[in-house]
């Protein structure tokens, strides 16, 4: 956003050019004799000046004259040269300053993060590229990655994998589906992920290094977009506490503490103690100790986490071959011993009124 200041550049350049040119004109030009623009030869100018002033001739007589004429001029050459020099130095140092400011403030790539230690050394956090390169090298060519749309182009460019939504997706319903998957609990999200045929899920988590642009901070937008398309399933108010706050600690709303995004961000984070002063599971970005520390996944598996936990990639597991039933089999209890009512004549396979046949005797018709 700092770079938006550069839109003022043309205006500032013109105004400062006007200022500098008028200063230079005043201090560099010979303004006493001439009112016309300088179209003549320089020797003409010199001659005129010399014929009038003659102050650079070393004659005793002439000195007196020249001092008189110097007073007439109004601005001595010393002041002129000092001011000119000052202005030139100002301009040159401005060029140096601009180079420094551009390299420091206007050129942060935002894919590579840098932090500076107490002694000034620079610490580079290359987590994004690490995770994207891992995706590029160690997943199948046609793997599909689900993430929030901010990272779509980065995944397509650096990781070279198919994404569901990216920065140029106009299909709001599709983005809402992804948002719904991130905001629902794991089983509902798994259904959406199976229907979209997702292999990997990628999220950004800034709780270890205090990075404030991570997905938990963007989470409410995911909820709002999902609510716009699926108002019956997702309600934004569910994710706030009864007092109306968005909290990730124990006081947070249970819907938030069990949604997929929360679980993916804080998986195994509850055991991590970054600092001896803070309890384990202390989120540096939200400045809170997380509420749900014991997170277990049924359908997801942690595939890769980058060095400073900035990017977390989960693999979506296929359905088991046999799903264990959630309920017990219904057992049939027999009340009494069953006795058959079939006599010899009423047994199955028994032909009623079968004619008896005796050899040698004629069959008697009934």
């Amino acid at each position: 956003m700092v770079r938006l200041m550069l839109t003022l550049t043309p205006v500032v350049c013109m105004l400062s050019a006007v200022a500098f040119s008028s200063v230079f004109e005043h201090y560099m030009g010979d303004d006493t004799k001439r009112e016309k623009p300088p179209a003549e030869d320089s020797s003409d100018e010199d001659d005129k000046r010399n014929s009038g002033n003659l102050y650079d001739k070393a004659g005793k007589v002439r000195k007196h004259v020249s001092e008189q004429e110097k007073a007439e001029e109004g601005l001595g050459p010393n002041i002129k040269s000092i001011v000119t020099m000052l202005m030139l130095m100002l301009l040159m140092m401005f060029a140096v300053h601009c180079t420094w400011v551009t390299s420091n403030a206007y050129s942060s790539p935002s894919v590579v993060l840098a932090s500076y230690n107490n002694d000034g050394t620079r610490n580079i956090l290359d987590d994004f590229r690490e995770a994207y390169y891992w995706l590029r090298q160690n997943t199948e060519e046609n793997a599909r990655v689900m993430s929030w749309w901010d990272y779509g182009y980065q995944i397509a460019g650096m990781a070279n994998r198919t994404t569901l939504v990216d920065n140029n997706t106009w299909n709001n319903s599709h983005i809402a589906l992804v948002g719904k998957a991130m905001s629902s609990n794991e089983s509902a999200a798994y259904q959406i992920m199976r229907s979209l045929d997702v292999d990997y899920v990628l999220i950004i988590f800034g709780g270890v290094i205090g990075y404030s642009g991570d997905d938990i901070n963007k989470f409410l937008w995911m909820v709002r977009i999902a609510e716009g398309e699926h108002p019956k399933d997702i309600r934004e108010s569910d994710y706030f506490t009864p007092q109306g706050e968005f909290r990730v600690d124990k006081a947070g709303s249970p819907t938030l503490l069990n949604c997929l995004m929360y679980k993916m961000s804080y998986y195994r984070f509850g055991e991590m103690q970054l600092d001896f002063r803070t309890p384990p599971g202390f989120d540096r970005t939200r400045n809170a100790e997380i509420g749900n520390k014991d997170i277990k996944f049924k359908h997801l598996e942690e595939a890769f986490t980058s060095e400073h936990w900035l990017v977390r990639i989960y693999k979506v597991k296929k359905l088991e071959n046999r799903e264990p039933l959630e309920h017990k089999l219904r057992s049939v209890v027999s009340r009494q011993k069953f006795t058959s009512k079939k006599t010899a004549k009423r047994k199955r396979g028994h032909i009623k009124n079968k004619l008896a046949l005796r050899k040698g005797k004629k069959l008697q018709k009934k």
Binding site: D41, K48, S51, L54, V61, V65, N138, G157, E302
Partner: protein
């Protein structure tokens, strides 16, 4: 018939004797073999110290080494040397042969001096096998340790009988799941000793199987392309593109970063970083991949090498791979030797990437400067030469010759020098700067011609007249300015006269002023006439200028006269100053008017 069979039988026996005992007819026998099988890394390195004795009737010039058939496809390097009293680095020549009826590969080793009958000789053999350690179980989770299986031979596979041999196996760790026990081996810590086996027949095999824990890095370079670009301007650029993969037990299940960071033995067989050793004069080292520069590396410049601690973007677990490029510049005076028109390049065919490296496939490309001829390549070992290619880069007209060679299954022993000889005419070095100069020359020449071309369809007389007038005016201006310069010069002369009181100089100055003034005035008048001929009204202005100029000259003469009078003492100083002031005032006014007129021109 009955009489012929014994004859036939005798002939057959002789034949068999001749053929079957091609080996034992040599009479060579291994008296003692001490074999060391080093399994501490991901390679199997077998070294054997053998005492060879010639029990046959005649002197032997060579002996034959054998390798079991199962291990032949994994053989990366085989070498033999003779142990003398002094330090020997004379590796002996090996030539592949076959023995009828026996499986496996055989190499004939040429002895430096023939071994007389009844004499003994100590030799040292070295063999390196890659990809023989199979991870078993082939898939492990992050918390488990990596176990591998090695299948070899208890005995040395040789075409000669061995009187006594011992095998010592060095493992990577103390933990051994199982190992084959032949002849009561002893195990202490990492070493298993298979006791002395006596009088083993030739070509005998007995499976040696060890299942043990090996957490050493199992990295393999599946493909490496090494490009060496030689420039006669003093620089050799080397770039290596490497595909690296972890060939140990494949990671099964999740990768937990928390466990990896907090527990020291989690992912113990994974590779976090390795050290690449570059030549000592390597500069401008870069380490990047397809998506940009990789910032996780450390460079350390030592006396005899440059060490780069290369850390891939992510730790490599089993089955994971990565890809990167590393490149550097070398000064050419260290590797390129020249004598007149002959040049020789001596560079390593493949360089160090990490310790105990295994390269599955290597491609070497050497790009020589344009115009290199009679190219010959001497390689230290056999490689496959592909046809030469042409490479086009900056300022190339007919392309640079590229030597392409490839080889598979290389290990650290293959880091040896290759010599490339070629001829290069020194004049051709000028081709590059001349091309740049020529390009600029053509550009400027074209522009010069272009601005002088006139593509106007109709002639515009008014424009022509205007142009003529403008040129004449320009000339007039220069002449007027010159004239005004004359006056200034005159002033200088007067001042000098006032100081030096040298009348002669003043007079000479006056004379030159007169002469030059006359010349210039004449020229300006002629130009004025031309202007009038063109019918321009500027002629009048020029006339004005002439008149004013005449007055100025008057004033200048007057001032010089005054100065003369001052010097002579005829006039007082104050009066002189007064008169000077008035004169100069008048002069300024006149000059101002001249200026305004000139501007109007």
């Amino acid at each position: 018939m009955a009489r012929k069979t014994p004859v036939l039988a005798a002939c057959l026996l002789l034949l068999l004797a001749a053929v079957g005992s091609e080996v034992s007819a040599d009479g060579l026998v291994y008296e003692d073999v001490k074999r060391t099988v080093d399994l501490s890394t991901h390679l199997a390195k077998i070294t054997a110290e053998i005492v060879l004795s010639n029990q046959g009737p005649s002197a032997a010039h060579n002996f034959i080494l054998g390798i079991e058939a199962e291990l032949v496809p994994n053989l990366a390097y085989i070498g033999a040397s003779v142990k003398g009293d002094e330090e020997d680095d004379g590796t002996l020549e090996l030539q592949q042969t076959t023995i009828q009826g026996q499986s496996g590969a055989f190499y004939k080793v040429q002895l430096p001096s023939s071994l007389a009958a009844g004499a003994q000789l100590k030799a040292k053999l070295e063999m390196t096998f890659s990809h023989v350690l199979q991870p078993f179980p082939s898939q492990i989770t992050q918390a488990e340790r990596q176990l591998v299986v090695f299948q070899g031979n208890h005995y040395m596979y040789s075409p000669y009988p061995i009187r006594s041999q011992t095998t010592r196996v060095r493992l990577a760790s103390k933990t051994v799941e199982s190992y084959s026990k032949l002849g009561n081996p002893s195990k202490n810590d990492e070493i298993i000793e298979y006791g002395p086996f006596r009088d083993v027949a030739p070509f005998s095999e007995d499976t040696l199987k060890i299942h043990y824990e090996n957490n050493s890095p199992f990295l393999t370079i599946s493909n490496i392309v090494r490009t060496i670009e030689v420039s006669h301007w003093g620089n050799i650029a080397v770039e290596e593109t490497i595909n690296l993969r972890h060939t140990g037990a494949v990671l099964k299940g999740p990768f937990s970063r928390y466990d990896y960071q907090r527990q020291s033995d989690s992912g113990i067989s994974s590779v976090k970083s390795f050290k690449t050793i570059l030549p000592a004069s390597a500069q401008d080292v870069y380490y990047r991949d397809e998506i940009g520069n990789i910032s996780t590396s450390h460079l350390q410049v030592l006396d005899d090498s440059v060490e780069v601690e290369v850390r891939p973007r992510f730790p490599l677990f089993g089955g994971w791979k990565t890809h990167y490029m590393i490149g550097y510049n070398l000064p050419s005076y260290e590797y390129l030797y020249t004598l007149g028109d002959q040049y020789s390049l001596k560079m390593r065919l493949v360089d160090h990437v990490y310790d105990d490296q295994v390269i599955d496939f290597l491609t070497v490309k050497i790009i020589l400067p344009e115009g290199a001829r009679n190219i010959q390549m001497d390689t230290p070992y056999k490689i496959d030469r592909k046809p030469n290619q042409l490479h086009y880069t900056y300022l190339d007209t007919f392309g640079r010759p590229v030597l392409v060679a490839s080889k598979s299954n290389l290990v650290e022993h293959h880091i040896q020098d290759v010599m490339v000889h070629y001829n290069f005419n020194r004049i051709l070095m000028l081709q590059e700067p001349l091309l740049v100069v020529g390009a600029f020359y053509i550009l400027f020449f074209t522009v010069i011609i272009y601005v002088r071309l006139d593509f106007a369809i109709t002639k515009d007389p008014a424009a022509e007249v205007r142009m003529k007038v403008a040129s004449i005016t320009e000339q007039v201006l220069t002449l007027v300015n010159k004239r005004l310069g004359l006056y200034r010069h005159m002033d200088e002369v007067v001042n000098r006269y006032k100081q030096s009181r040298d009348t002669g100089a003043l007079n000479s100055g006056r004379k030159t002023l007169e002469a030059d003034h006359r010349n210039l005035t004449n020229e300006i008048s002629s130009l004025q006439a031309r202007l009038k001929a063109e019918g321009s009204d500027l002629a009048d202005k020029v006339g004005e200028v002439q008149k004013l100029d005449g007055q100025v000259k008057e004033l200048v003469c007057r001032s010089s006269q005054e100065a003369e009078r001052l010097v002579a003492g005829k006039v007082k100083k104050e009066a002189y100053i007064e008169s000077e002031k008035t004169l100069s005032g008048k002069r300024q006014e006149l000059v101002g008017r001249i200026d305004s007129l000139l501007d109007a021109l």
